[in-house]
Structure formats: C-alpha cells, structure tokens
Amino acid sequence: MERTIRVLVAKPGLDGHDRGAKVIARALRDAGMEVIYTGLQQTPQMIVEAALQEDVDVIGLSILSGAHMTLLPKISRLLRDQQMDDVLVVAGGIISDEDAITLKGEHGIAAVFGPGSNTNDIVGFIRTNAGIARDS
C-alpha cells in the first residue's frame, strides 16, 4: 500500500508574506498530499516539534523576510538533535542563488525554489525525494 505523503508547510520568523505558502499548500493538496499548515510566525522550535508530532515526511519552509540564513540552519540543527534527519526539508521565497548554494551544501536543505517556480516541479521533486530515508 502506498503511503500518503505528509508535508508540514511553515513560515519561520516574523514574516507576513503568506501567499506563496498558501499556493504551495494548495498545489501539494491537489497532488494528493496531506499538508499541515501551521500559520505565521513560527519559531524553529515550534516547527520541529510540530513536524515530530505530525510525523511528516517533508518540511516546506516559506521565507521572504531575508532571515533565512539564521532561521533555516537552526531548524536543520534542531532536526539533527532530534534524530529527524530522515525528514526532507525544502525551502522557497526570496533566497539568493548564493545563499541557496550554502543552504544546500552546508545546512541540509534539499532544494530551494524561488519566485516564479513551477509548482509541478516542486510536486515532482517532493514525490521523488520524500520518505527515501524513512525506515517504517
């Protein structure tokens, strides 16, 4: 039996831009995934704890505030501390190419999708990469 992919979509930090997060949540739902949307102003601790309780395969972080280089590595670190490295983490929003390379290379972010990204590409990436490391 195929498992339904569960995704936590969260907005870390004090960032009120929620259009992108809602667009992504809807696109993933329409692709047959279960999306837990936690709303605005989430601390890294709140995001990781919600991901743990919801037992998600994927965390999707939407961030347009410019604070991604502090918040995203913090989330990855907390996930490692909780031995939740098997959760796929993807991000989107306003993130420069340079920062995206660092986040992917050094901070465990699997992919970064900027403005104008095609939601089909995002769905495809998650389908291919979600749950690979999961053991049960």
Binding site: M46, L52, S136
Partner: protein, 309 residues
C-alpha cells in the same frame, strides 16, 4: 524505528514513538493491528472529549482554549483534529493547528492532525486508534475535533465519552435548523461567538428545544453554555461541566453503556477491515465485474464470499 521498539517507548510517553504509531495506525494492516492489540490493555484511562459543530464555528479555537484551561489544572492533553480529504485529489490541507499555536512548546500537549481519508461521519477510520495510542502514552484528557459539519455526526458520540456540540448565533432563526441527530449526541452545548448578536436567543432556543424532548434517560440534562473562545470567556464553565459529566457517567453506570457502545463500534470496524482484507483477491474482482455487468447482485455475491471465509 522498528515496530517492536515502538510499544515500550510509546508506553513510556515518547512523543516520536507516539507520532510514528499513529502513522502506522493510519496505514492499517497486520503490523498496525498487532501494535493496537498490545496497546489496548493500557487504554481507558483518559477522559475522551469530542468537539463537533458546523464549519468555522470556532471548534479549533475552543479546543485551544479548553486545552489551556486543562493545562492550568495540571492535566496533560492530547488532541486529534480531523479535517476533510479532498474527494478529487485525495489530498488535504489540515489547518486546525493554526488556532492552537498558544499550545506550542508545552511538553504536556500533543497535537495530531488527521485527514478524513474518504470516511464520512466527521472522523477518519483511524481516529479511534489514534485516541487509544495517545491514551496509552499517558495523556489524561484527549480532545477530538471532528470535520466541520453539524448534521448529526454520530461517530463522535461513539468514540468520545463527553460530546460537546458547538453552535453559533444566527445559524438559522428557527429550531428546525438544529438537527435532531446533534441534539441526541450532545452531552454539552456550547454557543460560541457569544460576543456576537443573537447569542442569548440561540441559548434560549436550545434550552426550549430540550424541554420539548423527552427527559434524558440517563438523568443528565445537557447544559447550554455561552462562550467566547477567542477571549477565553466561559471556558472554565465548560471544563467544569465536562468534568461533572465524566463523574456522572462513572457514578450513574452510564459509563458502562458508553463503553459497550464504543466497544461495539470498534469491533464492527475491526471485523469489517479484517474481513475485507481477507476476502479481496481474484474471486472478489470477478464478483465486482459480475455485479457491474448486472449478472450478479451485491447480496448474493457477499453470501458467496463469506461462505469461503
């Protein structure tokens, strides 16, 4: 995480094990049934409270306020919030957590969102299993939020010990708008959004409707309580009343009847799941084709299948 490790960790209150166990229950199958069978002796400790009512009535906001109040009284709280699965894609957006942000970071609270996954009646197939797992993990109060509906979701009354039906002012001007099914399952009515006009009228209507009906067989007259979930007004009264209902159930023997109704529902669901799982196969497929072609009918086909069980 290996399944044999899950049970001891779950019983020890490990949150990650609990989260994994709920996923396993949602998936179903033999491993899930083995785990639930082992967990069952450790259940029956929690006070299970159901919250149902129309979409947008403030159920999630109310769950948040009630959980905060129970935490103030040093009770640990598990929450299962069910939202509808899209019939078109099979996906879902589960948004109940948005209203429960104030509970974030409290280790005495565990929140799980579930999609209805095609099940009608306000709950998902695995909701009762999730409640059992949270109960076994040691949470003292388990709150279930149903899909927004309010057309008499009787499933919740079978799973919860105390069922709270949420109404809001101005839902319709006459008594008819409140469905008989909802009246029968309510142990407590909450008229939420009492900061809005017409709350008094809705409270009065509900009370007069109760007087029209036969006196309650078990001697519990469901109270009608106004509340403002966003400000916390009326919340202590609801928590007190839910507590009194639990005491009433235990004292009046109503608890046995409820437990039997719950047990029957659980058994029925388990028989159905197991029977269908065992009967599926080439013979099943052949009968489906025959029925579709009007060469057979569902009743004869079912008899034939069950004879082979």
């Amino acid at each position: 995480m290996y399944i044999p490790d899950l049970l001891p960790r779950l019983l020890g209150g490990d949150r990650r094990a609990l989260a994994r166990a709920i996923s396993l229950a949602e998936q179903g199958g033999p491993a899930s049934r083995a785990l639930l069978a082992a967990v069952y002796p450790h259940t029956g400790q929690a006070h299970v409270v159901g919250i149902t009512g129309p979409p947008g009535a403030g159920k999630s906001t109310l769950v948040n306020a009630l959980a905060l109040e129970w935490r103030r009284r040093d009770r640990t709280v598990g929450i299962v919030a069910v939202d509808p699965t899209s019939p078109f894609s099979g996906g879902a957006v589960l948004g109940d957590r948005i209203r429960m942000q104030p509970l974030g970071g409290d280790p005495g609270v565990f929140i799980r969102s579930m999609a209805s996954r095609g099940r009608l009646g306000g709950l998902s197939r695995a909701t009762a299993d999730a409640v059992a797992l949270i109960d076994a993990a040691g949470f003292q109060v388990v709150i279930i939020e149903t899909v927004g509906a309010g057309q008499g979701e009787v499933d919740i009354a079978r799973t919860a010990q105390t069922t709270i039906v949420v109404e809001v002012p101005g839902m319709g001007d006459d008594v008819q708008s409140i469905k008989a099914g909802v009246l029968e399952i309510a142990d407590l009515f909450v008229v939420n959004k009492a900061d809005r006009e017409g709350a008094d009228k809705t409270v009065r209507q509900l009370r007069s409707m109760q007087r029209l009906g036969a006196p309650p067989a078990d001697g519990w007259e469901p109270p009608v309580l106004p509340a403002v979930a966003t400000s916390g007004q009326g919340i202590t009264e609801i928590v007190e009343s839910a507590g009194q209902h639990a005491v009433h159930l235990r004292a009046g023997g109503g608890a046995d009847a409820r437990a039997r109704a719950t047990a029957e529902g659980e058994l029925r669901a388990a028989v159905q799941e197991l029977a269908i799982e065992r009967l599926r196969g080439p013979a099943w497929d052949a009968l489906v084709a025959q029925i579709a072609a009007r060469q057979n009918n569902p009743y004869s086909a079912a008899e034939e299948l069950l004879r082979g069980l």
